[in-house]
Subunit: 147 residues, 2 copies
DNA sequence: CCCATAAAAGACATTGATATCTTTTTAATA
DNA sequence: TATTAAAAAGATATCAATGTCTTTTATGGG
């Protein structure tokens, strides 16, 4: 609705890695792309960004792949937005006018503000780990079924 | 943030027309485009859509222009979204997965649902007329100042 | 009836997000 | 150290949203 596809790919990618992490193995790009039905090369770009930002780890070479690190599951959703879309997302005027602020509100400003702050609060509170439903054997489906 | 620029242009265009309507005159495209700093031809396309949908009127030729009709100010915001972006906007999964529904929720579904329903409620309740602050002499500024 | 004006219509251009492909670097292990 | 697997890097392609330009149609006034 307002987050980019990149954000969705990133989130789903991490969650998938977290799932197989329980089996104690790394995951390679091809596997993630295939299981999630996501374009391989585009996903590569996004995974790379997360690695660079440190919320995920990877090793190259044979038996390489992506894997969780200490911070992965503690990472806030807002952090992921920051990486893929930029937090400005949360401070853009709904009418594409000036930077949104209450001193100089557009006609929809106050209607939007409450809703947007709610969203921001959610994203600032929730961690990646909170989204992982380890009890649900079909969890994989909830991140892989497309349109 | 999640509504297109088209929506913003449409809304601002109508509000501008409503403002000068008090002076009892029609408004021509050039004037709206200039006052709102919006690309002329693109605005034309959007105004045309609103006319076709009947929430705004226009006449061609000399002394022609756009003007309010009986339904304009009673039009709900959601109706405007329908015209410019389509209401599906409000039913898209935030992760670009399947069509969003609670039977088959993505990991962010329930976090988003409440917020989105709030937004939908707002847009279904508010009318264009509700946004018009006729008491504010600087209202024009609140719809014209860009980024 | 003719002219000028302005909206309607639609062809065309630009841009940014998304997606693909190719080359380079790194790392395991034989 | 040679081989090879896989991520990193970056060049290129596609597509939809946004924006521009040109032609057509309708209208009012002379
Ligand atoms: S100024 Fe428009 S949403 Fe805040
Ligand atoms: S299924 Fe993803 S937001 Fe509802």
């Amino acid at each position: 609705m307002f987050l980019s596809k990149s954000f969705g790919y990133a989130l789903r990618g991490v969650l998938y890695i977290a799932l197989v992490d329980k089996e104690g193995r790394k995951v390679q790009l091809d596997e993630i792309a295939e299981k999630l039905s996501v374009p391989r090369h585009f996903l590569a770009k996004i995974m790379k960004m997360m690695v660079k930002e440190g919320i995920l780890s990877s090793t190259k070479g044979p038996y390489g792949g992506f894997y969780l690190n200490e911070v992965t599951l503690k990472t806030k959703l807002i952090q992921l937005v920051k990486i893929t879309d930029g937090v400005e997302q949360f401070n853009i005027c709904v009418l594409s006018l000036r930077k949104c602020n209450s001193k100089n509100p557009c006609p929809l400003h106050f209607q939007m503000l409450k809703l947007r702050d709610g969203m921001l609060a959610e994203f600032s509170a929730k961690k990646l780990g909170d989204l992982l439903d380890e009890k649900n054997p079909d969890f994989i489906k909830t991140i892989s079924t497309i349109a």
